[in-house]
Point group: C2
Chain length 771, copies 2
Amino acid sequence: MDAFTHIDAYWRAANYLSVGQIYLMDNPLLAESLRPEHIKPRLLGHWGTTPGLNFCFAHLNRVIRERDQDMIYIAGPGHGGPAAVAHAWLEGSYTEKYPDISQDAEGMRRLFRQFSFPGGIPSHVAPETPGSIHEGGELGYSLAHAYGAAFDNPHLVVACVIGDGEAETGPLAASWHSGKFLNPEHDGTVLPILHLNGYKIANPTVLARIPEDELVKLIEGYGYRPHIVSGDDPAVMHPLMAETLDEVFDEIAAFKDGRAERPPMIVLRTPKGWTGPRVVDGLPVEGTWRSHQVPLSEVRQNADHRAMLEEWMRSYRPQELFDERGQPVADILRTVPDGPRRMSANPHANGGELLKPLVLPDFRDYAVEVKSSASQSSEPTRVLGRFLRDVITANPATFRLMGPDETASNRLSAVFEATDRAWDAETLPTDEHLGPDGRVMEVLSEHLCQGWLEGYLLTGRHGLFNCYEAFIHIIDAMFNQHAKWLESSKKIPWRRPVASLNYLLSSHVWRQDHNGFSHQDPGFLDVVMNKKPEVVRVYLPPDANTLLSVADHCLRSRDYVNLVVAGKQPVLDLMPMDEAVAHCTRGLGILEWASSDAGTETDVVLACAGDVPTLETLAAAALLREYLPELRVRVVNVVDLMRLQPPSEHPHGMSDAEFDTVFTSGKPIIFNFHGYPWLIHRLTYRRHGHDNIHVRGYQEEGTTTTPFDMVMLNDIDRFHLVMDVIDRVPGLGASAAHLRQHMEDERLRARMHTREYGEDRPEIRDWTWPY
Amino acid sequence: MDAFTHIDAYWRAANYLSVGQIYLMDNPLLAESLRPEHIKPRLLGHWGTTPGLNFCFAHLNRVIRERDQDMIYIAGPGHGGPAAVAHAWLEGSYTEKYPDISQDAEGMRRLFRQFSFPGGIPSHVAPETPGSIHEGGELGYSLAHAYGAAFDNPHLVVACVIGDGEAETGPLAASWHSGKFLNPEHDGTVLPILHLNGYKIANPTVLARIPEDELVKLIEGYGYRPHIVSGDDPAVMHPLMAETLDEVFDEIAAFKDGRAERPPMIVLRTPKGWTGPRVVDGLPVEGTWRSHQVPLSEVRQNADHRAMLEEWMRSYRPQELFDERGQPVADILRTVPDGPRRMSANPHANGGELLKPLVLPDFRDYAVEVKSSASQSSEPTRVLGRFLRDVITANPATFRLMGPDETASNRLSAVFEATDRAWDAETLPTDEHLGPDGRVMEVLSEHLCQGWLEGYLLTGRHGLFNCYEAFIHIIDAMFNQHAKWLESSKKIPWRRPVASLNYLLSSHVWRQDHNGFSHQDPGFLDVVMNKKPEVVRVYLPPDANTLLSVADHCLRSRDYVNLVVAGKQPVLDLMPMDEAVAHCTRGLGILEWASSDAGTETDVVLACAGDVPTLETLAAAALLREYLPELRVRVVNVVDLMRLQPPSEHPHGMSDAEFDTVFTSGKPIIFNFHGYPWLIHRLTYRRHGHDNIHVRGYQEEGTTTTPFDMVMLNDIDRFHLVMDVIDRVPGLGASAAHLRQHMEDERLRARMHTREYGEDRPEIRDWTWPY
């Protein structure tokens, strides 16, 4: 034990500071006996997991110092906020980031008071917490974040404490296998520390209640060498943990240079609420779920509880830990690593500090040549794939492309000319494009794609997540949390901007020819739009060149979530690259060549957003031009959905005057939309012309059928759009009535042909702009 | 092999029928050589997983017959549609459900043609597929569904084939531990069959590429006894599979009566695309990812491919399998179980056939007595807990309450007077309310809660999922898929209605005092509203009695997803039970007692939905009554959100006349809403008075702070509502201007008090209706 006096002192100090944060708003050093007014009126914090987190942190610091190890710390247990804050304060980085929280008695008082206090800091590990890239609120993502941080950081160890509650979640359960995608040579190391404290909020945990031999098999089955550290006596646990860590870091070295086949991990089994009150009001607390939040809940009102709190805090012997000014004594500070080696100050955990812009080839070089608008087709994602291929080549260690086994299916296959899929499990001779250092990460788990990418971005790198549109909902909750992380980070001066999280949703709702109804859901747009306008952007480029322009823009941006929806199927090339750049820069615009209102007042606006709706809108415009040549039609395409909002709602929003100029303030607007139609109403309800906007979109109708049958099922087809125009433009007369009937007939013909022959009529399938 | 002739014949028949579905639109029996016009123009289907699914099905049928085993089959691999349809047709149940698909050559032709064909059936296992409770589109939920089906069905075996692609997902990875929540005596048995065919769309799979000893350890770590069936020679594989299944079902019997500690499972390792083309155009196909979809892709155009298809189909020797009329020969039919023992006709897989209504106590008996509106408080979920306790008692084997360890936290603890938490792992003396037969299922995985409940409901039982509001987003995608299942099922006459999926979101956005920003997200309402109005319902009961009324209604309903948002914190009791029932039946109504416009034209409408917004609205009405007594104010509370829509959009929608009667068509409406504000705009944008609606709601602002600070951060507080009224009602004069300033001052006072003392001012915290 003697060798561990300093570590134990550090641990006691961290525990003391953790309890103080949960309970006290004054008298931080217990200079006097606790009185009610020293206690916060609302006790909001979580003790249960905290002493275990502190224990790991204290011991890892020794390893950092002895081995000069670059290491960051991810606290998976949701409610470990007090622990992470305590360490940052002890290590001095808290005061560096927040000078008013000084490393003395007054700073300690403020540290305690601010925790979970109105106007203060959150109770979880959060963006406000120095040294963290991981929010502790929604559980399940710690291990995926850890792997994301480790990729392409060969010298980094990511220590990742996983709570046994969190370990029950799906995303965490999937994350164990991340090792099959990590290259020991070129990537860093993840050191999972499964912390079995036995309980979640009110229940035992699964992994704490299976036989130990099953647990060991499980971990070996996941591909790790488990080391078990179990007990509750600090005198035994300190040497055991230290010895184990020495072995573990030796094994890590062996794993990295190929002498060991599997990396190590640690199972730490300690009581929940370790070192806290054992029994309160006659009920066991330490070692049970009752220590999850505040073991003593009535400290302000109940003098017995208050005395127990004081006894508990004094059990850490604060007088040995802090001097009379409240500064940590030298013995404690001796255990703290220096400068950026401190886990609370490691620049990997404030990735913007390390971020370098991508080296980007000129996207214009990948442009499709367009001599005449809408007279030829390209597959937008295939074109983008060539650009991404060269992005990968130019940034061999700072860019990754994530996707759930859909990179080829989404037609980005050109990237495989430059790189492989990351793969560190067995290979067979028939395998293609698998390699230990591949830049493409494909695993059939959207959770892992998202979690890895978040970890990668938050440690200062770049990436893109390509996904089927419907299944991106699988990570709705993760998106929400990442957006909230960005929303909070933007308010924290020392958090440096990181690369945006870029989504490319291909294989979208309108082209699920193979897959049908279960693969049709464009609702992620609605989820994204609920987050703060400062951090979300939504783009619907209608063709290959606009996709290139949007992609370049997104890859250069910082601190956003960029959502790009673009199809993989051939779509008409609408404009040459120069026009595409201008169109994307404006975010929306009138397609003059498709409009027939030049120099006059328009009769009707055909607006569209999304590749398939745009095609149908153009076809409708052509039909109107042919059958109702007198009708003045304006075609408007929207790329940047946020432009539709007022500027008060989103920084990209158009002024009302601009909006009226494009959309008119009184003419019928038939808006053909990629997603659920009401999103357009939500964006435009304040506009003058809103009552004239008629939106078509996905109505939750579909199956495995032909592309044109799909658009007909949802009434976004060209014929229906013409009918909508006829229904809404007054005074069109008898020829329009005939045309309307003709359109009905065309719909019927199209449907009958499809039902009979199993494919769309060629003149619909291969339609191009006729003028 | 001789003993397996019949099984092999059945397997060949199923394979033949599967290939036929993928490729042919005519000439089903190969009566003549294949010509281009026999081939579908669009080849949309997936062969890769199909022969393995067929193999399992064929062998399980033998077990069913020999042991008279009640069994259903869940096909996890997403693209196994052709297999499930083939079996249903061979077993005769397809023809029973769809008489035009007769069991003869013409029926076979139609069977082939309809598959993945416009106007036909989807390519996945889907609601249209007899014998299935599991959609194969979005991967990850097969094993959770299997466990849900097994709970409380002691004699049932749920055979669950898990694809090795699916096995990479988080939800599936978490599902393995479901066994810790299953009681072998009172529940049925899940037989997982992990099908390692080695590949997903374009990549190898993780579990197929780890050493077999690691795989075995992993499975043992999950708590199963693995049996490995590996090979590609049918002559070897048939006896091996049969022998293994005999062992496995003996082990299941031993597990059920306590002789064995762990249940068995099977690892089936067969080539992807087994028995399909080995090499196509010089590239290996069988046993590689190239057989994922259609191994021969140009059959219509390419005569070589067409010849290979014919050779492939003839390799199954169809002339031995079907007679000249196209009927399966007797040898095949001999292997098929009888009547409801057929897995394609088992009533558990059409749960509505088995559904019995819940025995429901009279919810009125649990009412809170309310003598005077809004003068006392109750915790709505605590009141509901007593009702649920007695629902559980009255329905001991057909109702389960799911939640991620939050039942007590959500204050439903009364249920533990009647039951335990389900738990079949180790227990300790300090544990409380754990038992092998508990009706409460708590696991820290929203995915498992949702998946188990779906499986439970689709097999004809009832349940409720209680969850923190923010984290229900974790299962957005699962909700989407379940809603789509219901949408599709409603169009299928033989699918009988099942109990609704009921969500209770407590611990909602406004009361995350402990947890802060990461726990604040009311956006699940928006996700739900995107699904078809026929299947979704959203309720925001403002107090305990309305919650009871809503809950009773939801538990009686069928084929819906009911979303109920109700707080656990004390809220004012607004009305006695009779009024609550009337209010919930109307879905919204004027709170006369809080309004001051009786018998006159109103000046302003204060509308509200949700418990916290309702409290603030009432407080605002009281302030207006005090300070602007001449102002005529109408207070409207909305419980059933769908009432706001026009009847054309939702069956609950109000007519415009009704809407105008309640909300007026021209007066200012200040709508205080629980969720993101634009949802109200989306629902009401067609109403006459829409331009007068000003919505307050969650603006994505929050942290760990006091309840009143939270409402102030988002401007839904009483003071801000009064300011909104003053800003929008014309001609209020100087006293209103003074009041506005006073409200600003009150906000500042409230904030300063909170920052200083860490709690809300008592007169705000304990506010009740003053009249």
